[in-house]
């Protein structure tokens, strides 16, 4: 009886785990779909498709209607358009940050682990320093120095996220470089470059790539926070963080109806929430799969 219970709960857990990751994947796929088919779902009005079309110049947001199914926000920016094209922006930022920070992290962490000695010592102390600051604070400082803009946001977030990847890779490189096939390769006359590319990286790079890809959710959240602080995209650019920033003056509604402008906050907020949620659900599933204690 007891055994039966245990079995039941385990299968149940597994099932649930499976289900959440499936939900995550489905959510993510719909975002991908939205990003890919943005020009069809919401055809651009001007030549710069990331510019949100404006329906008039009144300050006051308009509630959802037939023409604007998500309504408009401050200065009549169309929310539906902003959400659809904002998906593209989110992926653009996420993928670019992951790409840049992986490039940095793999090069620096790889060299540190491979060569050891003072190279390792210096780079690891440097990563310690960066990791000792809260990432977002450091990113704010960097963007404040570089000036606002999407590219600057990408650079800033990449600059604060590579140290984690560098450390992760370094640890694996330290293990792999002691395997006998590396020593054997040396006796054949292989140089450092050959060994690093053919032996070290193929045996150490996958975990860090997976971990970094799963960070896209939190990267987009950080980017949204920077945009909210006015450090991100220029006004009118399809970017979820900025749309939320625009709702700041309308959160309280009017004195008679506190929820008069609910859509200005809730709609972009939901978009970010679902986007981050989908990555987290998938991330949890992957972490379980990668967890060596469960194998």
């Amino acid at each position: 009886m007891k055994f039966e219970n245990l079995k039941k709960s385990r299968t149940f857990k597994r099932f649930r785990k499976n289900k959440t990751s499936v939900i995550g994947a489905a959510l993510l796929l719909s975002f991908v779909f939205l990003a890919v088919f943005a020009p069809i779902v919401s055809p651009p009005a001007s030549s710069d498709s990331y510019l949100i079309p404006q329906a008039g110049y009144s300050q006051e947001p308009a509630p959802p209607s037939k023409e604007h199914i998500f309504g408009t926000t401050e200065q009549q920016y169309d929310l539906f358009y902003a959400i659809v094209w904002g998906t593209r922006t989110a992926f653009k930022i996420g993928v670019m940050v992951v790409f840049v920070s992986l490039l940095l992290g793999i090069t620096i962490g790889g060299l540190a682990g491979f060569y050891g000695g003072w190279i390792d010592e210096i780079t690891m102390r440097f990563t310690d320093i960066i990791l000792s600051f809260p990432g977002i604070v450091l990113a704010v400082v960097i963007v404040a120095m570089l000036g606002p803009g999407i590219e600057k946001v990408i650079i800033a977030i990449a600059a604060v996220s590579w140290p984690g990847y560098a450390r992760l890779l370094r640890g694996d490189v330290l293990t792999v470089k002691n395997f006998d096939f590396v020593a054997a390769s040396r006796t054949m006359g292989a140089g450092d470059f050959w060994i690093f590319i053919k032996h070290i990286l193929p045996n150490s790079i996958y975990p860090v790539i997976i971990v970094a890809s799963l960070d896209i959710g939190s990267i987009v959240l950080t980017a949204a926070a920077l945009s909210f602080l006015g450090l991100g995209s220029p006004a009118g650019y399809a970017d979820w963080g900025q749309i939320i920033a625009m709702s700041r003056n309308w959160i309280l509604g009017t004195s008679s109806n506190p929820f008069a402008y609910w859509h200005t906050l809730l709609i972009p907020g939901t978009a970010i929430f679902l986007f981050v949620l989908s990555w987290n659900l998938i991330g949890d599933a992957f972490r379980d799969i990668l967890d060596p204690r469960q194998q």
């Binding site: 395997f179 006998d180 096939f181 054997a184 006796t187 006359g189 292989a190």
Partner: protein, 329 residues
């Protein structure tokens, strides 16, 4: 016959981790003033218990580690001082087969790429590579259809065959086999030993065969060096060493191999623990049944007691009297 390898007074120390920041660095001597030589198409066996420095010595010869002092001459050229092209050329001459065939093959490369790797590194032309690849598969007894498979699809013995093929690819003059059979099934051990023997005859390579198991070494070796605590304590032709072991440590090793029956054990050679803070003395003093303060000095060196039979023990002649020749027992 020509000497293909000469090791002269080689030592290697490793720095140990400091206890704290201010304490002086301590060193551990892994190889202590070792001199050995190897002739063409000969096999030198190296035996000794775990931690006696066998692998470290192999790494020094392979130029994976640099010695603190001494010379290692391969074909008359010192690999510890060679640079650039000459170094690459010398490295080709010594290839290695490791104990653990799981760690010695890159799990992300298939058999074809594993065996071709040494050829690619040394920029051998493509058509030549393919020819060499197929003849190597033949010589080590691997089927031709295994080229696209990955190491995890093979058994330990087959993996060791792949490692042997890779070691042979550059036609080295010396192959260092570091316990090549100790991780294998007993039934497979003999197969791999025979393969190594056959390769030796066909390709006229020289082997350094490392093991802590004397019986495996004696099958394949011409000459055997016994290592204890980083130093060579006895060096003799294989047969002579078995008939007439002189150093008490060698006798201990031989005894543990030959007398499987515990009742048959020679009473004189049981595990002995002498006082561990003996005055400066021979490294084996703590466990030596013959320890005596006058003779067992730390500066004792290998000396030739018979033709080609060297031993590092001042008491060797007395010992002979004590145990008698092994043949007489």
């Amino acid at each position: 016959m020509k000497k293909i390898l000469e090791i002269k007074n080689v030592s290697k120390k490793f720095a140990l981790r400091k206890d704290n920041f201010f304490s002086a660095r301590k060193f551990f001597t892994a190889v202590d003033n070792v001199s050995l030589s190897l002739k063409e198409n000969q096999t030198l066996g190296i035996v000794g218990e775990s931690g006696s420095g066998k692998t470290t010595l192999a790494k020094l010869i392979l130029d994976i580690e640099k010695p603190d002092s001494g010379e290692i001459l391969i074909d008359g050229k010192d690999i510890t001082r060679a640079k650039g092209k000459e170094l690459k050329e010398l490295r080709r001459q010594t290839q290695v087969i490791f104990q653990d065939p799981y760690s010695s093959l890159n799990p992300r490369m298939n058999v074809e790429n594993i065996i071709l790797e040494p050829l690619q590194i040394n920029k051998i032309i493509k058509q030549e590579q393919i020819k060499i690849l197929h003849s190597l598969l033949n010589s080590v007894g691997l089927p031709q259809n295994c080229l696209k498979k990955y190491p995890h699809e093979f058994s330990g013995g087959q993996r060791q065959r792949i490692a042997i093929a890779r070691a042979l690819a550059l036609k080295p003059k010396i192959i260092i086999a570091d316990e090549p059979i100790s991780s294998l099934d007993v039934s497979i051990q003999a197969q791999i030993l025979n393969l190594l023997k056959q390769i030796k005859d066909e390709m006229r390579v020289s082997y350094i065969f490392i093991s802590h198991d004397l019986s495996a070494v004696c099958h394949i070796s011409d000459k055997i060096a016994v290592m204890n605590k980083a130093a060579v304590v006895e060096l003799a032709p294989a047969e002579e060493l078995f008939k007439n072991p002189l150093h008490p440590y060698t006798q201990l090793l031989l005894n543990s191999v030959c007398d499987a029956d515990p009742e048959n054990k020679n009473d004189d050679i049981q595990i002995i623990q002498n006082d561990s803070n003996l005055s400066p003395s021979c490294a084996f003093a703590e466990r030596c049944p013959l320890y005596d303060q006058k003779h067992c000095l730390s500066e004792n060196n290998l000396s030739e007691v018979k033709k080609e039979h060297f031993v590092k023990c001042a008491l060797s002649s007395q010992k002979k009297a004590l145990y008698g020749d092994r043949n007489e027992n």
